[in-house]
Amino acid sequence: MKRLLKGGRLVDPANGRDGMFDVLIDDGRIARVGRDLPADGAAVVDIPSGYIVCPGLIDMHVHLREPGQEHKETVATGTAAAVAGGFTAVACMPNTTPVNDNAGVTEYMLKKAADANLARVYPIGAVSRGQKGEQLADIAELKRAGCVAITDDGRPVATALLMRRALEYASMFDMPVIEHCEEQTLKGDGVAHEGFQASSLGLRGIPSEAESIMALRDISLSSLTGGAVHIAHMSARQTLAAVRFGKSTGARVTCEVTPHHFVLTDAMLAAPIPYDTNAKMNPPLRETADRDAMLAGLADGSIDVIATDHAPHAADEKQVEFDHAPFGITGLETAVSLCFDRLVHTGVVSLPRLVELLSMNPARIINVAGGSLAEGAPADVTILAPDLTVTVVASRMKSKSKNTPFDGWNLRGGVAATIVGGRIVYINSETALQA
């Protein structure tokens, strides 16, 4: 079936396009991009004035929880949340139960994704068997089954030696090693950013250096091995400095930041809800200087990717003492609005730059199709409504879990529709878009 997206502003930095272009989709692929294309029998989707058409957004850091923790999220609910958040693809972390360290688990995830038939799912395999940090998982097997990267996310790759081997070994498959940077002895049993807020609330601290030390280790090992390392969910300004240093020396290092780390600070531990467990995540919310550093890194190009670290947890798991609550918040359904409200409308980044961060760069880092609306590419398209007034309502989210600190927030900018392989998989009824 043919479909013509008519009249929007196309923002496609991978092809150097930013302007009024129509997009013709045929048989799940981009058939033509041009000005004033004729309908020629295609179903016409009129893009309302002011809306943006861009390559489908890719969230390269989500926890879909299946198999093993289906009470928090499933591949079906997670991908429903993804498309509602404008994401046509997600890369899911291997810290499931059992761990995704073998083809069986990878294939199970992909089967569930095919059944759900919403967003594309790119599994990420474990670096080490059982994520135990002892011996490498069967990485060739993971690659063959469909994994796009490896990580021991949830914890760092345990030793410098194992990280070295992982970088060397994965490089033959063009797979990056995604690293959850955390020097575990420094982190200890910390639950919040080490600083005045944690001190005054009596919460055990996690110093920023727990992150930056590990990032420096891995950047050094990337230089040693030539392997690609991707620093996940960066939170501290010291880590950003480490990444900048690595890039300046030519190391193959890339990094991502989450919306909550460029929007929130550890002040949220104290107010508006003291000890709000939805302000507990790992890495923790840090200080204003760190938040501002993340904004600067997004603006100047040091940061490659915005990823959500979507980490669903059931309500009863979060409604406990702060010490006992699990780390993490959901992110898929708030990311676009937070990016518009805090990055685009404030002038921190341009729209083309935002599309790089949310689509083009993640596609390149994990070596998947997408991130581009070139003719012949899969028709994964996100339509954005930059001026849409969005009120975040956790209870209405598609994700199975509602653990978001943004409940009730009013933001400017949202998602109008999500198209995967030419199929409209999500349409926001609160926008002017009709199809």
Partner: protein, 309 residues
């Protein structure tokens, strides 16, 4: 005052003075032959303790009984927190039986805030993790006022494990609110990062902290902290930070020595100092009852309102 007493952070100086004045009146009740007034008759107070406590729990219980409240003690072994009912479920079950107040002691900072959000009962914080221990700070202030009349302008030194101490946090908030010059002292490994933002002066020199001090308050060194490698040995700790008679001589001649208990003699404080003429440690314990009576009475403000109506 607010519905709950979660911490000194929520109190204004006026609130604090009101507690101290009320405690003064309550103290007299403890000196009567029949130490009981009907003020809280018909009120139910639950003492919900998730951490072992002798002093604080006993003090609350005596205070409640002197005010004629119906009290019950629920002591929960720490291990059952992990394998059994959640704190929220326990609180909801207690709440279903309509107590008027819950006095909570818990190992996790913020546990009282969690209960405060879900309970109609008034919550009194009897110590939450490393966060606050407001009635301890109030009884300390009461004790200081007994001896020094005014708290404003006093030089007060708090020495010991600052990092893990809820007593420190509550006292730092309270004493700075009332205008004291507060010095805190301990090994750098046990100083909470950013603590100077509370308006206290931080030093690692005990001599500097206690010189010309009006009040010296010692904090307990928890032996289990030794595993964290915060300092090399208890012996070395005592040599560097222990309060000895020699160090006390650097303070003002009328200095008072305080300790929230339980004491480790020979670790943070020498026995001759603990039992010496400047020590007011047992007065603190005695005052604890009066101060907790005052807190219970003020929080049960309904009693007053009903009487007035």
């Amino acid at each position: 005052m607010k519905k709950d007493l979660l911490g000194i952070a929520d109190l204004t100086p006026d609130d604090i003075y009101r507690v101290l004045e009320t405690a003064d009146a309550m103290r007299e009740i403890g000196q009567r032959p029949i130490k009981k007034v009907p003020t809280l008759r018909g009120k139910t107070v639950v003492n919900l303790f998730y951490e072992p406590s002798t002093r604080t729990r006993t003090s609350f219980e005596i205070a409640e009984k002197r005010l004629s409240a119906d009290t019950l003690n629920v002591a929960v072994a720490a291990s059952s927190v992990l394998k059994g009912e959640s704190l929220v479920d326990t609180a909801m079950n207690l709440e279903a039986m309509s107590p008027d107040m819950i006095v909570l002691r818990h190992a996790s900072s913020g546990a009282c805030h969690l209960l405060s959000r879900i309970c109609k009962s008034r919550i009194i914080n009897a110590g939450d993790g490393m966060h606050e221990h407001p009635t301890q700070a109030l009884l300390d202030a009461f004790t200081i006022k007994d001896h020094k009349k005014e708290i404003a302008g006093l030089k007060i030194a708090i020495v010991g494990d600052l990092l893990h101490s809820r007593v420190l946090r509550s006292n730092a908030l309270l004493l700075t609110k009332l205008g004291a010059e507060l010095w805190v002292c301990g090994p750098p490994t046990l100083v909470p990062p950013g603590i100077e933002c509370l308006g206290v002066r931080v030093t690692t020199s005990v001599d500097e902290a206690v010189r010309d001090a009006d009040v010296i308050m010692m904090l307990r060194i928890q032996q289990e902290r030794m595993q964290g490698a915060f300092f090399p040995s208890l012996r070395e700790y005592f040599n560097v930070f222990g309060m000895t008679a020699e160090r006390v001589r650097l303070a003002k001649r009328d200095v008072i020595i305080m300790h929230p208990g339980p004491m480790n003699r020979g670790v943070e404080i020498a026995s001759d100092v603990a039992d010496g003429p400047y020590s007011v440690i047992l007065e603190q314990v005695a005052n604890g009852v009066a101060v907790r009576m005052a807190v219970l009475y003020l929080l049960a403000g309904g009693v007053e309102d009903e009487a007035a109506a």
